[in-house]
């Protein structure tokens, strides 16, 4: 039975969204590969998913900032996965990033450069094979730059544009690229923040939404996990810049 199972690779497997997404795929019968910098933490999630679902779960070390090591990482996987989901994200500290440019560069590279380069490797291999799906978790923060988080937002905007372009490039070959904008999610990254209930998703909701968008019969290109965000972001997007720049957001 296991021979026929599809395989997914989850990049950023120690995050709450990554854990929930890998869990959703495992529950749907997929083999799961977890990639993370902290292998020990990822193994904890791998054991959890394997015990709960009975799925096979492997762990692979990956540093999203080491682009030189990426080809070796991809070729070192036991199998080229059917789907790759990248949930890597680092909010950083906006105020610090305004004065410490190393910190700003780390936020840019973690949210934009690293994920884009890595997914580029998978895109080329999927094209050569003629099949494969790519899911990138970006952010509503990338839809419009705000004074309180534009370093992170700018990086996510770049990643959103990368995914959009990649989708455009791969579509004629029948390969899928899905952009996910989760909105607020109750995770360790947002612990301690005041989050509005209606706009805030649980990690399990994000996982289920990703699985449905990427693997469901009615595939989607760009999803907001809670549909209400689409309206919120179109309102925010519609505010004229002369007014927007004076708002405290």
């Amino acid at each position: 039975m296991t021979e026929n199972r599809k395989t997914m690779l989850l990049i950023g497997a120690t995050s709450d969204i990554g854990r929930a997404t890998a869990m959703a795929y495992a529950e749907a019968g997929w083999q799961v590969l977890l990639a993370a910098r902290n292998v020990q933490s990822a193994q904890r999630n791998a054991d959890d998913i394997a015990t709960r679902t009975g799925a096979g779960v492997g762990v692979h070390a990956l540093d999203i900032l080491h682009s030189d090591a990426m080809p070796g990482f991809v070729d070192g996987l036991p199998v080229l996965p059917d789907t790759v989901v990248c949930v890597v994200g680092e909010m950083g500290d906006q105020e610090r990033a305004q004065v410490e440019f190393d910190h700003a560069a780390m936020v840019f590279r973690t949210n934009f450069e690293g994920p884009s380069l890595l997914l580029g490797h998978f895109a080329n291999r999927f094209l050569a094979r003629g099949s494969g799906s790519i899911v990138g978790v970006s952010s509503v923060a990338g839809d419009r730059g705000r004074g309180t988080n534009y370093i992170y937002g700018a990086a996510k905007a770049g990643f959103t544009a990368f995914l959009s372009g990649l989708r455009n490039r791969l579509a004629p070959s029948g390969l899928r690229v899905v952009t996910v904008k989760p909105g607020f999610v109750r995770t360790r990254m947002t612990a301690g923040m005041k989050l509005p209930g209606l706009l805030t998703a649980e990690p399990a909701e994000v996982g289920a939404a990703i699985l449905a968008a990427a693997e469901g019969k009615r595939g989607r290109d760009v999803i907001y996990v809670r549909p209400v965000w689409r309206g919120v972001m179109s309102v925010i997007g519609a505010i004229p810049e002369p007014i927007f720049k004076k708002l405290k957001l």
Binding site: Q40, S41, R44, N45, D47, D48, T51, R52, T53, G54, R188, A191
Partner: protein, 443 residues
């Protein structure tokens, strides 16, 4: 932050910290004092509120390993029982012991050494533990079990978190053919009949009695006894051919969205409810029927936040156990006090217990009675009177439910306290591991 137990009385300020990674626990434990672990907050009183700091364990929610051959399951201590049921009932495994709610953590089940409807046969949860991992007050993590650091193990099972922070556990799940319970209802017209019916149900895997706390006089203690067995595949397929063999919890839930006014549960409404419930149960008679596992084991989990029905001041649960020799006289006197006080308990549950477990475990051979009473000015005096009956009968109170017993009542009920205190001293626990329960009771 202001913390309270499931009974919503009492409330205390305590600094709340979440545990997310088992590897971070030793450092945190070694560098804090006045701490206690907290699982899902289902202890009724002050057991899971640290005098200074309360370490929330819900982030320790990973499963580690499962062996389908032996049923052996290893989990982190913040794992919810509901998660275990969701993962393993569809694979044909059931926990060896479950308490009256599935919304508890494994760490909490160990600390309170919980019992279920099968205690008379299978003992408490601690009796099924093969190993647990405990972070001592020093920050050292040690493995212990029935034959490994056994003294520490016996003090930790039922030790209300006062020997350190439990971070993981291994126990055996039992195979079941279906998620259905074959239930039989026995009607007892008075307390003596109820005790006899429980004795007669010794061979049943599960048994529990529901007592009508409003009935007085000759009908004092009239009860419905629910006996149950895990139904076989054959029983389900012949009686309910369309039913799934291993059903999950039904998603439909009721909820109590806000505190009900204290008047909702008055004497008349409870009496009417009890009368209805008793008649319905009696009508079902002795014919066995199939019940879904969820309402059988966790009827109140079907009502979200049911603790709000007692109003803003909260409620007290009083659960005692008394030995067989004194049980009838003591329970009759307790029920008489309750019914005469007019403070009819919404829920009164009677259960037969088998052999006792660990050093500070609640269970001992005899009968356990659980009552819920809304907090009013008179409730405390009434419960003090009941405590005196329990002590005179040679019984004790369940610490996981307790919010108000006196030190004298506690010390009379737990003669092994001295040994527990010696062990706590040896590992540097006094003052270090401290809940409001332990400081109230002088542990």
């Amino acid at each position: 932050m202001l913390l309270e137990g499931w009974g919503r009385y009492p409330r205390f300020e305590s600094e709340a910290l979440g545990l997310g990674d088992p590897l971070a626990v030793p450092g945190l434990v070694a560098s804090s004092r006045g701490i206690i672990a907290r699982g899902n907050g289902r202890a009724y009183g002050d057991a899971a509120i640290g005098t200074r700091r309360t370490l929330g364990a819900l982030g320790l929610d990973r499963m580690k390993a499962f062996d389908p051959q032996s049923g052996r399951l290893t989990v982190e201590a913040g794992m919810l029982l509901s998660d275990i049921l969701a993962a393993f009932l569809p694979r044909g495994f059931f926990p060896p012991v479950v308490p009256g709610t599935k919304l508890v953590t494994v760490g909490g089940m160990i600390a309170a050494d919980v019992h279920g409807k099968n205690h008379h046969r299978d003992g408490s949860f601690g009796d099924h533990l093969e190993q647990l991992t405990l972070v001592l007050p020093s920050g050292q993590a040690v493995a212990c079990g029935p034959s490994e650091n056994a003294d520490l193990f016996r003090a930790t099972v039922g030790g209300m978190g006062l020997t350190g922070i439990i971070t993981g556990a291994t126990f055996r799940m039992k195979p079941v053919e279906t998620g259905w319970i074959r239930q039989r209802t026995i009607v007892a017209k008075d307390l003596a009949g109820a005790l006899k019916a429980l004795d007669d149900s010794d061979a049943a895997t599960y048994s529990v009695a529901w007592i009508d706390c409003v009935a007085r006089g000759a009908g004092l203690g009239r009860s419905l006894i629910f006996a149950g067995e895990h139904a076989t595949r054959q029983e389900v397929s012949s009686e309910r051919p369309d039913a799934p063999l291993l059903p999950l919890a039904s998603p439909g839930r009721l909820g109590v969205p806000f505190d009900l006014p204290a008047m909702t549960l008055n004497k008349a409404s409870v009496a009417a409810f009890n009368e209805l419930y008793f008649r319905r149960g009696a009508r079902n008679g002795d014919k066995p029927f199939l019940t879904h596992w969820h309402p059988y084991f966790f009827p109140l989990d079907g009502v979200d936040r049911w603790n709000r029905i007692y109003g803003r001041r909260g409620f007290l649960q009083h659960q005692c156990v008394v030995p067989p020799a004194t049980a009838h006289a003591a329970l009759a006197e307790i029920l008489d006090r309750i019914t005469r006080s007019g403070k009819a308990s919404f829920l009164a549950v009677l259960k037969k217990m088998g052999a006792g477990g660990s050093l500070m475990s609640f269970p001992m051979p005899g009968y356990t009675l659980a009552l819920d009473l809304r907090v009013t000015d008179e409730t405390f005096a009434l419960l003090d009177q009941i405590d005196r009956i329990v002590v005179a009968a040679g019984g004790r109170l369940y610490l996981a439910k307790d919010a108000r017993q006196s030190r004298q009542t506690f010390e009379a009920g737990y003669p092994t306290l001295g040994r527990f205190n010696d062990l706590r001293s040896a590992i540097g626990a006094p003052g270090h591991m401290a809940s409001h329960l332990s400081s109230r009771l002088g542990i």
